[in-house]
């Protein structure tokens, strides 16, 4: 994986020193809070309901064991012994003290990490397919491109004060695991007729209060044109994006208000103008970066131990849900679920982080990934090692066999932590997971994505959940609105709002009625919840939610 060069190292160290001085000046009173707030946000530091929160970037979700151990160390030394992996492939620490934050940033710099541009109106952490570099269905590893974008966008002088935050996602696989249509820019690696690498470029996607799916602005962009083209998009947005209204400032609104064609014309004109200024040095840099992502030395070994272990039904259940086909014969991609029934989705204790680091070193060629679905991936595990890996995961409480199932929910922190939240998310997820565990039906139900957000900003991606749950404040009481039929993949769709919301005490039962009702509606066990919904439309599902009052809803 990519390792910092002298420039990266010097840059990150300088930022830590700068922030240390800014914190000192704030504490002494030389900076007011109004002056300090944008500075702390540029370094990922928020003020939440109970404490500060530090958001640390995990670029395109890739982590080394040493980095994971350092996150464990930070959690123990300066926080409360755990971290929260987020839907943007970041990690959040919920309890840092202001004066400790420069030390935390220093500890991150020690392992080539930082919190730069994890907040503010700039290009945020570039997210990617969590199976990148390992998936059998991949055209190419998208991470070198993501790293190129990271280096280019970090501290880019033109794009530090955009109208609003800006999110880029990239996938190297036709099966979109990076939700590219819900980002300001979505990049899908493709090859043209001559077999040359390039991108399908999407613009104007986003969830939040006005959910929109990205639209294709270029069918095929040659790889060498990527940075100038992204610069043209950002330049057009920087001028045309609205700064008068925070809620209309995202690129999706710019594209919507101007129309795709007019926006595209602006982008293409800019692109023609700036393209000649690009000498190709970025492509030289890309080749250097690519070398850093060379695949590990895969080994050829017997897989008998794996086949033998499948006789154990508990192992088999885990293998059936938590493994994904690897591009190399004899290997598997392992998803470690951070969704034990009743636990907080996305949370890992310092101990669990260390176990994962050790296991990645012992069995996984030293690689780890964080998924936007808030799980940890060990991307390169030889099948012969799977039984031992599974046994070790079990000991650490990390062998929950539910990836892709009802209890594998995406969940934002909600009002348990977040200052923006209008309702809680975590306890709803905990109760839903416990209910499905009790019912013992989730393996029978099959693939199901439930996503929960605690406010309209939609960090929990509820709009693209097969079942989406949005927590609202209705006259001072938590209320949960249900959307159905959302999809974050290459067949993306925004979920449809059902009728009136449900009280805190009613929402779990409502989800249970939906899921059990679907079992009666599906044509066969092969028809997924989403497929049933797409075939039947909302009415039978509304009837499940609201019973005989469905018409009134």
């Amino acid at each position: 994986m990519y390792r910092y060069d002298d420039f990266d190292e010097g840059f990150v160290r300088a930022r830590v020193a700068q922030f240390r001085a800014q914190v000192e000046r704030r504490i002494e009173g030389a900076l007011t809070e109004d002056e300090f707030r944008p500075l702390r946000l540029m370094n990922g530091l928020y003020l939440q309901l109970h404490a500060y929160m530090l958001r640390v970037a995990i670029p395109y979700g890739t982590l080394s064991p040493a980095q994971m151990r350092q996150l464990a160390h930070i959690a123990e030394r300066w926080d409360r012994g755990y971290g929260h992996f987020t839907t943007r492939q970041n990690i959040q620490f919920n309890w840092p003290r202001l004066k400790d934050v420069p030390d935390i940033l220093g500890a991150l710099a020690d392992v080539g990490m930082h919190a730069i541009q994890t907040s503010g109106n700039c290009v945020r952490n570039v997210t990617s397919d969590h199976f990148a570099g390992a998936a059998a269905d991949e055209i190419a590893d998208p991470r070198p491109i993501a790293e190129l974008l990271r280096q280019w966008s970090t501290d880019h002088p033109e794009f530090q004060f955009l109208p609003r935050k800006f999110k880029i996602a990239i996938t190297g696989s036709p099966n979109d695991r990076a939700v590219t249509r819900a980002h300001d820019i979505g990049l899908r690696m493709v090859r043209n007729d001559r077999g040359e690498p390039g991108f399908e470029v999407l613009v104007g996607g986003g969830l939040g209060r006005t959910p929109m799916l990205g639209q294709v602005v270029r069918d095929f962009l040659p790889q060498a044109d990527l940075l100038p083209y992204v610069e043209a998009i950002l330049g057009a947005y920087n001028l045309k994006g609205r700064r008068d209204n925070k809620y209309k400032a995202r690129l999706k609104i710019t594209v919507f208000e101007n129309g795709l064609e007019a926006f595209k014309a602006d982008v293409e004109e800019r692109f023609r103008r700036i393209r000649p200024e690009w000498s190709g040095v970025d492509q030289d840099l890309l080749r250097e970066i690519e070398a850093a992502f060379a695949p590990p030395a895969f080994r050829n070994a017997p897989v008998d131990a794996f086949e033998a272990a499948r006789a154990n039904p508990v192992f088999r259940a885990w293998a059936d849900t938590n493994l994904h086909p690897h591009r190399v014969e004899g290997y598997s991609i392992v998803t470690v679920s951070l969704k034990a029934h009743g636990a907080t989705p996305g949370d890992a204790t310092a101990h669990q982080m260390r176990v994962l680091a050790d296991l990645a070193e012992t069995y996984g060629h030293g690689e780890l990934r964080i998924s936007h679905e808030q799980n940890v991936i060990i991307p390169h595990v030889h099948k012969g090692d799977l039984p031992d890996l599974w046994a070790a995961l079990r000991e650490a409480g990390l062998a929950t066999a539910n990836v892709g199932l009802a209890s594998d929910m995406i969940v934002c922190p909600g009002m348990d932590y977040c200052a923006l939240a209008t309702a809680r998310s975590i306890p709803i997820a905990q109760q839903i997971a416990l209910r499905f565990e009790e019912l013992q039906v989730e393996h029978d139900v099959g693939p199901l994505k439930i996503k929960i957000s605690g406010c309209i900003n939609a960090c929990g991606h509820h709009h693209v959940g097969h079942i989406g749950i949005l927590g609202l404040d209705r006259a001072g009481v938590e209320n949960y609105q249900v959307t159905l039929g959302g999809d974050g993949t290459e067949r993306a769709s925004i979920g449809e709002k059902m009728g009136p919301g449900f009280a805190h005490t009613e929402i779990v039962g409502a989800v249970e009625r939906l899921v059990l009702g679907y079992l009666d509606l599906r044509l066969s066990p092969e028809e997924t919840f989403l497929e049933s919904y797409r075939r039947l439309g909302p009415e039978p599902f509304k009837a499940l939610l609201y019973g005989e009052h469905a018409d009134a809803a």
Partner: protein, 114 residues
């Protein structure tokens, strides 16, 4: 007739620690909501808010939060968001609930009404 005023407390977070605190009648910042000064007069609320905002080296995020007097004679927050701030998160026993401080106000599934 003057419009009715919903009683308030002055709410903030400590600059250094980041934890939730409330302004007391004797000008302290307390992590215990029951010590908060319940302000029942709008003009007095403005004065207390100004006083609080004049302490940027002690607190940040100063705002007025709706509150009422409980049956025990002590203030409690009327909105659940502020109730969370007196309690901590509900997924772990962390924050004020772990520091022996009283949860005030109603958090569904956690507390009864005050």
């Amino acid at each position: 007739m003057p419009r009715s005023f919903t009683p308030k407390v002055v709410s903030a977070n400590r600059l250094l620690e980041g934890d939730a605190v409330w302004l007391t009648e004797d000008d302290r910042w307390s992590p215990d909501f029951t010590e908060a000064e319940l302000i029942e007069d709008e003009a007095h609320a403005d004065i207390r808010l100004l006083f609080a905002k004049g302490q940027p080296l002690v607190v940040v995020g100063v705002e007025l939060a709706d509150a009422a007097r409980g049956r025990d004679g002590l203030p409690y927050p009327t909105h659940f968001r502020e109730a969370f701030r007196t309690h901590g998160p509900t997924n772990y026993r962390l924050g004020k609930q772990a520091e022996g401080l009283p949860t005030r106000g109603h958090i569904p599934g956690e507390t009864a009404d005050v």
